[in-house]
Symmetry: C2
């Protein structure tokens, strides 16, 4: 046996040296080669398929890998160890989608209207461009023997006289630079003052008048995607935007696997540095796009779910995951960006929008802010569906929130050919009700690789309407089509034949996939029902339903209603918020008033713990049908169904 082995990854053509017995997923991580790993390396998701092109490996037996797969050289990276020099190819489906997705124009939703900053005039109370940091230009008289107050007091005196700012605390690094800066500039400087709520703090000093150059950054720190905006704080204009995958994805796709990683060894520090790395790259992109200097940036506002906020700030997320689900903190003082390892420029502070509970985070607080729910008379339901479905019900008088663990199905997890909405993902599906043939559209019209969330919802609704699956999600195996078939692992429907797919394998949706999706949609719907019933309302009380999150943008509302994911209220009441989290961070970056509103909103919101709620399980079980046990609650779906069945009967008779 050799002392060390050389593991070469293709197509990256990158290798590392490792000890014999090294796990391939770990080796890939060390080599900075990305392989999808949704289950954190547990062998349960079966996504980290690689092809061993050369060399000797040992595979743990795993149900996700058939004998035929092994014969072709396939292995699950997380279940495989290296015992000689290797050449390992990462096949297309195991690699993350490329970044072009982030440059795609946001598609207009099929129904409803995508909420944006232009709606704020109507939805928000009047607010002013008045960011938490202000640049104050001061010109002082030089000291004399008669006026020999200290440099610090001279600056404070000017801030008080010029800007009415009393008792400004001067940050030590500023104090240290003060004497030379004042004299080199001829007593003509610009001081950046941060309003931390309790106190004003001078965080930066620059020569001359730099007040015209001031930018803020708003960031949505998503579990999967991080989106950032550079805002000119003098005009309020968004000067540049950028998005990228959260590099933490390599350590597990959902918050739970990240929490587990964070609580082992130096995992927390690793995850923090990785997400800070992504943010740093985004800021670099923004600065280049906008052609500004780093030192124009004076503050950052981030919104993320509770776990993402913890990981970014280096707070222990362990107990978020364990009953009774307690975060370290839900509100966060302004922190120096450099204290989390983000070294942009001197004196940049960061504000994290407060969370409500372990599973209702700052992203939801931000969304409630941006969509103006806290300011409306209308009874509003705000839904953000991802791995967790977070929901807020309320208006300007009260806000009630809950979170249900929808599972990763809507993000492509727990679904055999599920994937995120990247190039090659099937995002729209129609199924012919006569011959059961599908029509599919993929992201970027690329050869299909898998199915993303909106594609899955389409598929399920269409399978149901076509009568291919029944209200329980079970396949009708008696239909005259070879697309429905029975295999060792259960029944399935073939959406794409191998010859048409980018992966050269059939892309199917299985009964197991459908079960997972049914559970996910049932959890969301039951959550909505619990929220409503806890205040003695039903779906008819909803004046407006707001759908947030990237998922929401591609969703076809009628399909979601057909499936019973969303309540069957008029489509006209449903609107898309888009990235509510980013919109909220943006607002808070622009306005002290809006920033302090985030605290108010988080404090006001009552969190309803569903696992405590006796009626949740009952409502959940009732929702495990398409669209629902109580078809009366879905009058439009019933009509639609009756019409389709009538057409099918007529076609059958023809």
């Amino acid at each position: 046996m050799e002392e060390s082995v050389r593991i070469l990854f293709l197509p990256e053509n990158r290798y590392i040296m490792a000890k014999p017995g090294e796990n391939l997923l770990k080796a890939a991580m060390n080599a900075d080669v990305h392989i999808n790993a949704s289950c954190g390396g547990s062998g349960s998701c079966g996504k980290c398929r690689v092809v061993i092109e050369k060399g000797e490996v040992k595979r743990e037996p795993n149900l996700k890998l058939s004998e035929a797969d092994i014969a072709k050289g396939y292995a699950l990276a997380c279940q495989t160890t290296a015992w000689s020099d290797l050449e390992v190819r990462i096949p297309l489906e195991s690699r993350i989608g490329d970044k072009r997705i982030f440059e795609r124009k946001v598609p207009e939703p099929v129904y409803g209207h995508l909420l944006s900053a232009t709606d704020w005039e109507e939805r928000l109370p009047e607010w002013e461009l008045d960011p938490a940091t202000q640049k104050i230009h001061i010109v002082m008289d030089p000291p004399t023997l008669d006026d020999n107050t200290s440099d610090a007091d001279r600056v404070k005196r000017s801030l008080s006289m010029e800007a009415g700012m009393k008792d400004v605390v001067i940050d030590y690094p500023v104090l240290q630079r003060l004497p030379n800066m004042l004299r080199q500039s001829g007593w003509d400087v610009t001081v950046t003052v941060l309003d931390q709520g309790e106190e004003l703090r001078a965080v930066r000093i620059e020569q001359g008048d730099t007040t015209a150059r001031q930018s803020g950054i708003a960031i949505d720190v998503g579990t999967t995607t991080i989106s950032a905006e550079l805002i000119d704080l003098k005009t309020g204009e968004v000067v540049a935007s950028a998005s990228d995958y959260n590099a933490q994805v390599a350590f597990g796709e959902d918050v739970i696997t990240r929490i587990i990683y964070a609580t082992k060894g130096t995992g927390l520090a690793k995850l923090q540095s990785v997400v800070v790395g992504t943010i740093w790259n985004l800021i670099k992109t923004l600065v280049e796009k906008a052609d500004i200097e780093y030192c124009n940036i004076t503050h950052i506002v981030v919104a993320g779910n509770t776990t993402m906020t913890h990981l970014l700030l280096g707070l222990n997320p362990k107990y978020i995951r364990e009953e009774p689900y307690i975060p370290s903190a839900t509100s966060f003082p302004w922190i120096k960006a450099s204290d989390i390892g983000l070294r942009i420029a001197a004196g940049v502070y960061l504000y994290a929008i407060p969370c409500v509970a372990s599973y209702v985070g700052g992203d939801i607080t931000a969304g409630v802010l941006a969509s103006g729910i806290f300011n409306t008379d209308k009874m509003t339901l705000y839904i953000d569906i991802g791995t967790n479905g977070e929901m807020v019900l309320g208006n300007k008088d009260w806000l009630l929130a809950c979170s249900c663990s929808a599972g990763p199905a809507f993000e492509g997890g727990g679904v055999r050919h599920g994937m995120r909405a990247t190039r090659g993902a099937i995002e729209q599906v129609r199924i012919n009700k006569s011959n059961y043939e599908p029509m599919i559209i993929t992201v970027d019209h690329h050869k299909p690789i898998g199915i993303c969330g909106s594609g899955l919802i389409d598929t399920l609704a269409e399978l149901f309407l076509a009568g291919i699956i029944n209200e329980k999600g079970k396949f009708n195996l008696d239909l005259p089509t070879d697309r429905v078939r029975k295999t060792d692992t259960g029944a399935e429907y073939v959406l794409v034949w191998a010859e048409d797919s980018a992966t050269r394998r059939d892309i199917v949706i299985t009964e197991v996939d459908i079960d997972n999706l049914m559970r996910a949609k049932a959890a969301v719907y039951a959550g909505i029902e619990v929220l409503l019933s806890s205040v003695d309302l039903d779906v008819s009380a909803i004046d407006e339903l707001l759908i947030a999150g990237a998922f929401g943008r591609y969703l076809e509302i009628d399909k979601a209603v057909t499936l019973g994911l969303l309540p069957d209220i008029g489509y006209e009441k449903i609107k898309f918020v888009g990235n509510g989290s980013l919109l909220g961070a943006h607002l808070a970056a622009l306005s002290r008033e809006m920033l302090s509103k985030t605290k108010e909103i988080a404090n006001t919101m009552t969190y309803l713990e569903l696992s405590m709620n006796p009626s949740f399980m009952e409502k959940y079980v009732s929702a495990l049908f398409i669209p629902h046990t109580h078809l009366d609650d879905f009058p439009r779906v019933r009509e639609q169904l009756e019409e389709v069945r009538r057409e099918q009967r007529m076609a059958g008779q023809a």
Copy 2:
């Protein structure tokens, strides 16, 4: 020529390798070998005498070094470079006095009473043991699904309920430890809360009830000496004390040379790390003496002059030295001890007592606090004499301060055989008025090495009373004694013959020395007069004269009055404060009220810039006599003088 040379220092027996041409003072510093260097290596003080026992050196010509000295192997380290392997001996007089001085019992002053904490009852307004940090023991109910507030909010809730502390900000490091700490302790913890004035901050969390163990540290950061106390914050008792030389002494003896060093290259960082090193060693000593744990320490209060405070906090002191003498800052927010490199325990913060101006520092503010001037009706004059003479005049209604550059004479600088009050320093002197023979007492009764401040004042007063020098400080060369002699460098009086001295050289006081001392005393006295006259008072208005500083403790008041250093008011009005700076830091460490009084005092105090004052120079010139041009202002001295002269005449006639 060799590539590198080996420089061995004796008697330390420590060597370093250096490049040929290396400066010996620099080499010694690098080797951590102490050589006195009062002038920062400029060649002007002539104190860094070393003996080249072996090897080849190059000496810069210097007036401080005679041909005879060179013949004996003497060299000034700062003016000498190494050009071969060397053996360099540091003679006794060039080494710093040993540390035993710090263990000497503080001698009771000859007159008056040494002020101490026991006087506070009478002098200070009522105050309570109520330090800026409080330890709060809280036992919480563990979270449940019904009570799922975050860990941070649970702690805040308890602090509010148990201690009435609202809106406590939790420091990030505490927040990071919170989740595990709470659970490991069974929700039974002690939180240390720091009252920063504007906000309450949770700075530490510990398992269980640690409230019984809480200590504070008070430090006087002197230019020469640093003194520290460990105080039990539960009882207010001083548990241990320790003092040591400020290790910055190796970089120059006075604040001016330190400022110059600090403004070159990384000098500031070096000086900061060096003083922090001294403080760290003192704290180590305190902790060992008191047999406590480092983590018992919850906060530190320091008092130092403006330059020392700048150097400790890493603030740029450059403009303290340049007209119009502007410090970076005079008040300082609480700072994390670890931010200045002092890593004692988690969450220890440090408060620096505010300064008034560039040459009236936190040590004076502290002294005014500790001596209760801010609380008395009595017209009080507070004097702290060192390199600078700082003076405060006032009472509870107003405070007026000034500083006069006395020069280092009273600390032994600028005086040929001057030294600090360490072992072998002549500290008391009497001179027989008939035969002009001296009687001397040295510190620790060690063989005399040189003369310290109190010894110099004694010597001058006695030389004057004996008629050896006249009122202008000039020698009478016609006296029948070989102790008064004329040399190339002027007249001098031999205090100790070579055979009696530890240095095997005559210990003398020269006319140049006397000139320097006259200038120093004149500056102090003129300062006192300017303070008084600026409020239309004269010395008779002084109800109490307080002398602070280590110098004060050894001073014989009658000699100081004879010399005209102190005004000729009744001795009963004169009291010794001892280390007023440390006493004030001690008070501020014990009581939030006293701590905030330091801000009030510093703000109240009006600083009088003497270099601006038209009458200062006039008063200074008048004071360049012993005791003064206006002998009428010194009635007791005149009486004394008349009596001595009468006795001398009678002895002469006998």
